[in-house]
């Protein structure tokens, strides 16, 4: 049994503990260990991806208890992909946080960062529904700390809202798990898939209630309308590097929906067939519309970026709602794209806010900034990526989503919504960009020397979005294999329950 699967969970946990206990007052040492930890995480994630790419499903039994009695971690193509995405995002954004000095504006930034990574990686790797709840709590409690990093009255208040909303979500999660356990008598995902298929349709009301409650919990995480209210304030008020890392948090909700509704409550299961498809589709369309209109209506850059995150979740969830292998592959491509593009947008917004001084993120004309042209170019790139114009990966992603919905009954509604909201987003970004970068007002601020590292991080994300478009062929081949694996859950079940 290979022990590498548990490294993405144990490594950040150990590092965070060491940082809190042994190097509390050594900022430089914390930075070194945090960056080294993220680099190691990327390396391990690459190794895991190489292992999973062959199509095998590796199961790691914690405490050597066989499933379904013990908790298992499961490595398949999907979880390997998500762990790698998390690790890459965390490394780049961490460099930004160090370059701008965000990590020194409060205590324990790096330790919380590592705990956050532990929770996210664990949520992607676990094969047990209750263990998923525990990892959700780990990542949430770290995110509470990160959210209020550096303090401030507005941020603390937004933090209170965020905590309350997520505590309610956690309570709902427990109710859902309790209901499902009462019906099936298990919480191991593979075992759940077996038991759910054995329940006759006429006795399945309680199971359907559990499945729907679980969907609501994940919809809260994925910011599906009308459960998105926690997102705008949280993302706009959070420190920029934290908001950029949170770009992966909404994807955890989408990942959990994909995982549960392909593996356990799959499209072929009579009991829960068509339970969430319609709700998810129309919710996603509304999410898309509200997000993109929010871009046009936002009066501040931070809220603009937050609504862009909501809009991209809308596009992603449209692809998720179709539940065919082709649409799932499109959803995964859009997941990678929108994680990188969303993080890039938050970082660019933060660079602009930091250089405009008292004006901050307000959309009013201001003085010429240091590195004005470079920031304008970065904004242009982030806007192109988010709105989905060629040549960056947003265009390829939207094309894949449109292609995947071609066979649907509501195809014209979906295409109309995606294309019209893209236009709205372009208008919103153009309007905001022209006010901030073209309508100059007041004396030039003296160009103070600016550190290079934040720009390097931004350009790395921009390059990532570009490479994703250039390498769309190979990436899609991997994602199509991933989607095929997800839509044939028998192999997963056999691997976990040891009948394979």
């Amino acid at each position: 049994m290979s022990h590498w699967i548990i490294v993405p969970v144990v490594l950040p946990a150990v590092l965070a503990a060491i940082m809190t206990l042994a190097m509390r007052y050594h900022a430089a040492l914390q930075r070194v260990f945090s960056v080294a930890g993220c680099v190691a995480l990327v390396a391990v994630a690459l190794g895991l991806l190489a292992e999973a790419a062959g199509g095998g499903i590796t199961v790691y039994e914690l405490g050597n208890w066989p499933a379904p009695f013990g908790i298992v971690l499961v490595l398949d193509r999907l979880s390997a992909l998500m762990v790698l995405l998390t690790a890459v995002l965390a490394l780049v954004v961490l460099l930004y946080a160090i370059g701008t000095g965000w990590d020194q504006r409060g205590r324990n930034f790096h330790a919380l960062w590592q705990f956050q990574l532990m929770g996210i990686c664990g949520a992607f790797l676990t094969g047990d529904a209750f263990n998923l709840f525990v990892f959700f709590e780990v990542l949430l409690i770290a995110s509470y700390g990160l959210m209020i990093h550096a303090g401030g009255a507005r941020r603390l208040k937004a933090g209170v809202q965020y905590v309350i909303y997520n505590l309610l979500g956690s309570t709902l999660f427990l109710f859902a798990l309790g209901t499902i356990y009462a019906v099936t008598g298990t919480l191991n995902m593979a075992d759940l898939a077996v038991r759910a298929a054995e329940i006759p349709v006429e006795d399945s009301a309680l199971l359907r209630v559990g499945a729907m409650l679980l969907f609501l919990v994940f919809a809260v995480k994925a910011a599906l309308l009308p459960l998105h209210f926690w997102l705008p304030n949280t993302y706009a008020e959070a420190p920029a590097p934290v908001a950029a890392l949170f770009a992966i948090m909404t994807k955890i909700g989408a990942y959990a929906i994909l995982r549960f509704y392909t593996l356990i409550f799959g499209p072929d299961l009579d009991v829960t067939a068509d339970l969430i498809d319609e709700v998810l589709l129309f919710g996603a369309l509304a999410t898309l519309a509200v997000g993109m209109i929010g871009i046009l209506g936002a009066k501040r850059l931070g809220r603009l970026a937050a609504f862009a995150a909501i809009g991209s979740m809308g596009t992603l969830l449209i692809a998720v709602a179709v539940f065919t292998p082709q649409s799932t592959a499109a959803a995964l491509y859009y997941t990678i794209h929108s994680t990188l593009a969303g993080a890039l947008l938050f970082l660019v917004v933060d660079l602009v806010r930091a250089r405009r001084g008292a004006l901050g993120g307000a959309l009013v004309p201001g003085p010429r900034m240091a590195q004005h042209g470079m920031l304008a170019a970065l904004w242009f790139g982030a806007a192109i990526a988010t709105a989905g114009l060629p040549p960056l990966s947003g265009f390829v992603g939207k094309l894949l989503v449109l292609d995947a919905t071609r066979e649907m009954a509501d195809v014209w509604l979906i295409w109309g919504a995606v294309l019209a909201t893209s236009l709205v987003a372009v208008l919103g970004f153009a309007q905001a960009g022209s006010v901030v970068f073209w309508k100059l007002d007041g004396a030039d601020s003296s160009p103070a020397p600016q550190p290079a590292l934040p720009l390097v991080a931004c350009f790395a994300l921009l390059a990532g979005v570009g490479m994703l478009a250039v390498l769309a062929g190979p990436v899609m081949r991997y994602l199509e294999a991933t989607a095929a694996q997800m839509h044939a859950p028998a192999a997963y079940i056999a691997a976990v329950l040891g009948q394979g």
């Binding site: 208040k157 209170v160 809202q161 309790g178 009462a182 706009a236 008292a358």
Partner: protein, 116 residues
């Protein structure tokens, strides 16, 4: 017994939701605690109500209660306890820095969002 448990959980949940909707931090936190009590009781009985039965194998005992929900509820209690502590600290911090215990964000025109 079933009716008692069900109505207790329902009452706790209703009271919790009512308090959460009050939008002042203290009632909201009390409401969240009530909700966690409700969910703990709910988890506890997901293995069915079984009175006076041991959860661990013993000689000469025929019927058992399901031990797994008891383990789950322990985990849930620990987590909700920690989360409530975090929420209290955070609410105190927000109260001390903003000067009121309103959950809603006041409208802000200073452009200072997300800054240092």
């Amino acid at each position: 017994m079933e009716a008692l448990m069900a109505s207790a959980i329902g009452l706790l949940t209703a009271a919790g939701i009512y308090l959460v909707l009050r939008l002042r931090t203290f009632p909201v936190i009390v409401g969240l605690s009530l909700l966690t009590y409700a969910v703990n009781l709910f988890l506890f009985i997901t293995g069915r109500l079984a009175v006076d039965m041991p959860p661990i194998l013993r000689k000469g005992v025929e019927s058992y209660t399901d031990p797994l929900p008891q383990a789950l509820v322990l985990t849930a209690i620990v987590i909700s306890f920690g989360m409530t502590a975090v929420a209290v600290m955070l609410a105190l911090g927000a109260y001390l820095s903003a000067g009121d215990d309103d959950v809603c964000l006041p409208p802000d025109d200073s452009g200072a969002e997300g800054g240092a």
